[in-house]
Symmetry: C2
Subunit: 390 residues, 2 copies
């Protein structure tokens, strides 16, 4: 195994995945090096990160804080917008851990520059998977998944011919309400929705896990990451979150990747590929202690968001952008207590039905569909509000 | 995927694995072709096979039946001893499905000729793994596993660097007596031992599954097939026989290969490697229907044969040959009702303790150790006989 220093730009370094990425890099100073850090509004944390990792390129969303942040990174640091950082010659791997549409242009910039892109931002592929994967092919750039499910599929595909894939099977824990009687779902609170049984994640994704919208997004991402038609992508419920996903091949053989639920493992995989290096700090799987792994088909009546996502993914074009935009607003309104939990799929469904979509949209059309869906969804939430208080 | 015709010699075509191999070949006439068949004593079946597959090379263990068998294969068929068949220029893959030491010289002959060897004969690697793997390296020949556990590990290693392997974890169903109270094991009958819960196999291997000696043999084979030290090979009980084995890597990632218990899948993998082709007739895994997969650590007091095998494998040299030889006799004597079930490990243990072994034996010394162990074991069984009737 050749020891080479991989130079990394972390976009979205102050979020959950960004912080875990820095934890992985911290464990492997001989192998991994931070050259760029871009954070959001948490400038105190970004300053700390700059002091520790001394990046040569820095950015944050608050323009007034440029000088302070740069000072923490040291004399040699230079201010660089995310798009520039992502394409910089000193960068080998760009880890995109931004949230929402923010990562889109930086991802395109990195791919055009032929970088390896470790992608943790869901919206990028959900909204613009077609454009992104075409750009990656054109720039001979590599897209590496960071999400545990996609990383599992990716690892199972090493050494395999993609043409021999029969099915991708994504596992889903089922989220906070997997065991709640269906009739009680109308009255669950945001606080209850935030209790994820197996993974510790951000607020939006935890609620998306309870509706299974998150799994629907992952199915759409998988479609683009692995170039597999939507109808060959399935979801199976797996409450232990130990098997991160499966691949079934033409001969009937099935491969799986397993591990304790810890994002640092897939993050490290994406940073050190094609090598595997010692996993510092990641707990080891002990199958005899785990005892049993359970699987069942998802109850579609319980998870209408999953069906909506699979349908939007199959339609393609601008529909997945509407799915994501409307969902973001609906989840936000649910978290504020403005609408009920089972109103989330209703709002998304209404947006998808009302959308006058395009089959092959350009980036501008995708962003327009996203913007339209947000306005539409917010309006629909206001109309629901009284019912949400029932 | 390039369609090439793979020409196959099946040694041991009338046994369980041999018959399933022919079933796989029968499903894929455009891709797989029989050029050689070698059978044992079941000449009626071998004749039928010759009539169907029209091999150009044939052999059986009964010299008097040469002409009859050759006649069934057709005018162009030629008589060829196994060693010659295994090295014949018209053969691409040699599938070794013979039982016991019979496959040893044919395996060596195939490896010296640089053939791909699909190995289903356990004793070959258990007895002479060091010699066999050195010969394979020298002849740049490829050893492909056929056993479901080793095939699982092999498939999980495609595209991986063997240096990044932390552990191989073999799964074991636990065999016929996995749920029987320990104190009752002294009195179980051969008929009970032959009821395997998940796999339909031959008599010797089914009894070896009940003692877990079979799993011990597989650990020794894995040691040689994948060049991994014995102490990195573990066994986990898994009653459903759906996960065929696991590989744990240095970073903590674990891969598994799964499928319904059906030997035709790993056989096909070994014949068509590196391609995967449509799996005709092999039932598909349905995880939602499977519902749960269970795992537990093996109870060592219940399975003393497993401990003996792991110890013999760690010692290496001529000890594994003694393990296999003594076990074969002890199982035979148990099947005849001459000794008790829990006498099997006692006989094997006695042979290993009495063996004056060698650390780096040549083939002759290995065969001598095997012969010695059989005489020793038979003698020890006679001494136990009265106790076996208790």
């Amino acid at each position: 195994m050749v020891q080479t220093l991989t130079r990394i730009a972390v976009l979205g370094s102050t979020g959950s995945v960004g912080r875990q990425t820095l934890d992985v890099i911290r464990q492997h100073p001989e192998r991994l090096k931070v050259v760029g850090l871009a954070g959001g509004n948490n400038t105190t944390l970004l300053e700390d990160q700059c002091r520790e990792f001394k990046p040569t390129l820095v950015a944050c969303s608050d323009a007034n804080l440029h000088m302070t942040i740069k000072a923490s990174a040291g004399a040699k640091a230079r201010w660089a917008p995310m798009e520039e950082m992502a394409a910089h010659p000193d960068v080998d791997v760009v880890l995109i851990a931004t949230v929402g549409a923010a990562g889109l242009s930086a991802t395109l910039s990195a791919l055009r520059a032929g970088k390896a892109v470790a992608l943790a931002n869901k919206e990028v592929l959900v909204m613009a998977g077609d454009i992104i994967t075409r750009e990656a092919a054109r720039g001979r750039a590599e897209l590496r998944p960071v999400d545990s499910e996609h990383s599992a599929i990716w690892q199972c595909l090493w050494g395999e011919d993609i043409a021999s894939v029969e099915k991708l099977i994504l596992t889903a824990s089922g989220g906070a309400f997997r065991d709640k009687p269906l009739r009680d779902l109308d009255h669950v609170t945001p606080r209850e929705a935030l209790r994820h049984p197996t993974w510790d994640m951000g607020r939006k994704i935890t609620i998306d896990s309870a509706t299974l919208m998150n799994k629907g997004f992952e199915a759409i991402e998988a479609r683009w990451l692995f170039n597999i038609p939507m109808e060959r992508i399935e979801v199976v419920m797996h409450r232990e979150s130990i098997v991160h996903s499966f691949v079934e091949f033409a001969d009937g053989s099935v491969k799986a990747q397993l591990g304790e639920p810890d994002m640092r493992l897939p993050i490290q995989c994406a940073l050190t590929y094609p090598d595997r290096i010692e996993g510092a700090g990641v707990p080891r799987l002990n199958l005899a202690r785990t005892k049993a792994l359970h699987f069942e088909a998802p109850e579609m009546s319980r998870f209408p968001c999953l069906r909506l996502a699979l349908e939007a993914g199959t339609k393609g074009g601008s529909w997945p952008a509407v799915l994501a935009g409307a969902d973001e607003i609906a989840v936000e309104q649910f978290a504020l207590g403005a609408i009920g939990f089972m109103d989330i799929p209703k709002v998304v469904d209404a947006a998808l039905s009302a959308h006058d979509g395009q089959a092959d949209p350009d980036l501008e059309a995708i962003l327009a569909a996203d913007a339209w869906s947000r306005v539409f969804a917010l309006d629909r939430c206001s109309a629901l509000q009284p019912a949400g208080r029932r």
